[in-house]
Amino acid sequence: MSEHTYTPQSKFGKWFNDRLPLLSLASHLTDYPTPKNLNYWWTFGGILTFCLLSQMITGLVLAMHYVAHADMAFSSIEHIMRDVNYGWLIRYIHSNGASMFFLAVYIHIFRSLFYGSYKSPREIIWILGMLIYLLMMATAFMGYVLPWGQMSFWGATVITNLFSAIPLVGESITTWLWGGYAVDNPTLTRFFSLHYFFPFLILGLVILHIWALHVPGNNNPIGIDVEKPSKDTVPFHPYITIKDLFALLIFLIIFSGFIFFAPNILGHSDNYIEANPLVTPKHIVPEWYLLPFYAILRSVPDKLGGVVLLFGSIFILMALPWLDSSKVRSSIFRPLNRIFFWILIVNVLALGYVGAMPAEGLYLLIARVGTAYYFAHFLIILPVLSRIEKTQPLPLSITDPVLTGK
């Protein structure tokens, strides 16, 4: 955090702030100089903070009524839906909230990709973000197991079995994860415990993420360094707070649309059938936000190979600041990167689509091409492109193109 010369007005405020500088922190947050050209893609950080708090509060309430036991979990969910006052509402906010959380995080990540927000000096912000994303996936996966429906059970079986691909110790790791010889009650109870705890870890990482953000300050749509504070910046409050709140309202309207009009559209009907270890559903699919990774897993006809690519596809993103060596951040001034950015988006959406389809015929072919392209994008295209691309000239300041009418 930048040095602060804030002194509270009141005598008590000064006394308190000298002992615990909370008022200095509040003043830093309100005055925090923000580039004045931030567009609506920058409002998703605030939306994500809202999502995290919303999940934690609804989750806390659900945990008051939920029973984490293989014999009772499924009926306790029905109890929440039918008996608990507003239980249906709270459960639907939590289940759809997870989807909205991922929707927001994907927009947030692709915003960073387009505007080069992962580049120096923001690499640590980016890596903390990826860690948050990994924890989000783990938390959502374990949460989906809790209702103990068919998809819960078989999703948990397939995902935990991924670890059995590890040579030599794989079997012991899965047994250790399960606390038995298959997914069963011990698995359910530990998943509940961890599902409750992980969001607190996420909260801690979010604080570090924002702290790291406040060192260099925000990136911006044209990606140039701005002097802070200057005529290129505005104070966070009220300019950004009001803009973030407006975006949050729009987001909440869409969110409410799901909760009140289509609460189950993103879920799978098989999860309203109680878990049965003897029968696997015909067609197992993960939640929509994990589909591209599922497509990558299934595209490889080899167990270990599939698992390696699955984890590789996520970890490769951590190396992104070093794979892309272009000095120019924003893709507005990178004509080639701009094109490949959109191809990557189409590729990821296509992978998501085939991830939901059976792994055969044309779908399998698309999944293989898509997987190959995904890795080629990060390992070949980006490193080469960032060296040969002829970028367009950057403006000297944010105000500059406006004043010169460019």
Binding site: V158, T160, W178, A182, D184, P277, L278, D302, A359
Partner: protein
């Protein structure tokens, strides 16, 4: 300077000893927190199941639960047995003779768990008329051996004994 050199030797020793004891202590403290997640005594206690097989007709199979996992008990027909026995081992991804997978050729007792990611395969399905796993498309033959698809190995054979003509004890 000899004296101070000696002194620092003694310090180095004390530091190393302290670090070592500290590391061992931390390791010994962490271990119970890790090991508590392994199968507990009540889970390990449920280790055997007895099954009555007198009602199973040739060509049919039943599925029983053992240690939370399905076990297929299949009474194979003559054609299924000869198919399983006549396969050229060179063709197999995980070569195993059918004779090594059964105690009596008529009875195939096998974990009903796909060796890929643990789904329960469907019986009498797939290109080899044994089992087919719908999760990611693995095909097994009438001996439960992997023939096609992402699964790396044959379906596992649990420990079992024929207690008498009509009873199998698994585990």
């Amino acid at each position: 300077m000899e004296k101070s050199g000696k002194k620092s030797d003694r310090r180095d020793f004390l530091f190393t000893a302290t670090y070592t004891v500290g590391a061992v202590g931390i390791g010994a403290t962490i271990w119970p927190f890790i090991d508590q997640m392994n199968p507990d005594n009540s889970v390990k206690a449920l280790a055997t199941t007895e099954v009555d097989i007198s009602q199973i007709q040739p060509g049919k199979s039943i599925t029983v639960l053992w240690r939370g996992k399905p076990v297929f008990i299949k009474r194979r027909t003559e054609t299924e047995i000869s198919e399983a026995q006549s396969v050229n081992l060179e063709e197999l991804k995980h070569p195993e003779k059918d004779a090594d997978r059964v105690k009596k050729p008529e009875w195939l007792v096998m974990m009903g768990i796909c060796s890929h990611l643990g789904c329960v395969p469907l019986s009498d399905k797939g290109e080899y008329k044994g089992w087919f796993c719908p999760c990611h498309g693995s095909h097994y033959d009438t001996s439960g051996r992997i023939r096609k698809g992402p699964a790396p190995t044959n379906m596992e054979i649990p420990k079992y004994v024929f207690v008498d003509e009509n009873t199998i004890k698994i585990g």
